[in-house]
Amino acid sequence: MAHLVELIDVYKIYGEGLESEVRALDGVSLSIDRGEFVAVVGQSGSGKSTMMNVLGCLDIPTRGEYLLDGADVSELSDRQLSKIRNKQIGFIFQQYNLIQSLTVLENVELPLIYQGIDPIDRRDMALEALERVGLSGRIKHHPTEMSGGQQQRVAIARAIATRPPIIMADEPTGALDSHTGLEVLAFLQQLNNEGSTVILITHDNGIAATARRVVRLSDGKIIDDSPQDVDWYAPVKKD
């Protein structure tokens, strides 16, 4: 069976041919199967954010093949890429990326609106997602009225509202205190236990240790890719 995600010799090069060219991804090959919990770890500038953008269909690689569920992403139209981001992938960002002018409920409903789900079902699905993150009491609030941890939970609710097979989290704990950060990580583990494929991008080895598999990036190259044992119910403390 095909891998869920497969990168084959992928390059992302900025300013190719110039003296100042930057190889954010320098011949990366990686495959991830359904149900995996993978942490991509690297220092800043290692190319991990570029990898996440490529994996999340937010950016197109300069060279190489990216197969998502067996389909070559480079051959897809903008419209099809939008559909993939909408249905296959749930994004969780470091800066939450909530829309400030919308309420919590409206933020969570947004991907469902773009899916064209009718208002009643949409509301139910969004409320269910908010209940899972423990925020069903604050649906009328605006993101600015909430703490960082709460905002990240709204972002998680938005990511899981469409029940996507893949969750991509880019430094999800980066802007949070350690306690709240651990809660978020525990939640990602729970999603993984329920069957979602989770891809976690971080610079923090302690956080990466919560994943079953760690991929280390440096200078746009994978330098280590190894599975590890994880105690699911007691995530490793942050350093």
Binding site: N53, G56, L58, D59, D78, R79, S82, K83, R85, N86, K87, F91, F93, N97, L98, I99, S101, L102, L110, P111, I113, Y114, Q115, G116, R158
Partner: protein
Amino acid sequence: MNLWQAVKMAWKSIWGKKGRSALTILGIFIGIAAVMTIVSVMDGYKRAMLAQYAAMGTGMLNVSIYNWAYDDEGNDISKDYFPDLRAFCDAVPEIRGVSPQGRLYNVAVSYGTKNTANMQRQYDDMGNPVGDFPPDMYYGSDQYSACNNLKLARGRDLAALDMSKYNQVCTIGADAAKMFFGSSNPVGKKLLVGGTGYRVAGVYASRRTENSGNVNSNLDNFIVFPYTDQRMLGGEKPSEFVIKLRDSDDMKEVKTRVNGFLKGLVPNENFYVYSNDQWQQYEEQALGMIGGVLAGIAAISLLVGGIGIMNIMLVTVTERTREIGIRRAIGAQRSGIVAQFLIEAGMLCGFGGIVGIGVGTVGSLVLGKLLFKMTIYPSFPVTLGAFSLSVAIGVLFGSYPAAKASRLQPVEALRAE
């Protein structure tokens, strides 16, 4: 994403920046108000003009014969052309009637305490005549009423015998009757004209219609004397005549025949024949031109307003680059982003249009009263047109910013602060 969602989003965004939105639509609202006022006032004036032409009657030929002659002492010894013209017209079946169209000035008319010598042509702020207003005085034939679209309300009309016998009679318009005689019946009563008694033979019904406004305040305020009374009352022999046709379609042919007849009658071709339809056409043309120029000026203000919209939408797109990135990341299509900004621009201008329509309606009413003493409401097509125009401007000038927003790469948009 459905339309209703997009409309709701656009509304939130507009309402979220009330002050800025209000300033943005200022240009559109002024432009729409100006266009609406101009178009509807022009429209109203044209309707009034047409109503007035209709009141005076269509299918009329005006004849001018300027072959005056004087003796050594300066007395008018011009020929009276009317009998010949009358005889000709009677023989043409397409002609309904013919009458001299002379005016009588500077002769006082009185009845009881009402005396035109004491009356002044005064108007109030709205241009309506104030108090008693001196009537216009005309010389006419027994066919004057037929030529001027007049219907008898009381008594009898002028008759051919009144001309040949130099009878001292007259007929009067509805307003003149009211002014001199109040509610009593004028028929048979005598008006003193220049000291001589003239019996009122008949009263005409009002020609005023709802649309005629005050464009001609003396439409019903006049006295008609048999043209032969000119011998007693003064003035020169008639030189202006009016020929009324049964059907204005025959205008061209009858005009040619009248011209031919007059060539044989008047020496040196000292005459001129013109149809009032011609004047109407000229006036409509002139009006259309003025309206076009004014509407053009207003359209420029709309253009400026549109550019303002484009400018502010570009700012909005820049400000919301990150939001666009987020929306794209969670699945918005390019078309969804385009729709969002187009609807926002269209709605913004639509609101401007609605305010503009309100102000334009008030403007039409006020200007209509001030300039033409008429109640002018913008017509429904004008209103609908103004609204559609404002939305169209929003969509037109919003399309560049919207396209720009949709072309942002998700990953770059997400990086924006």
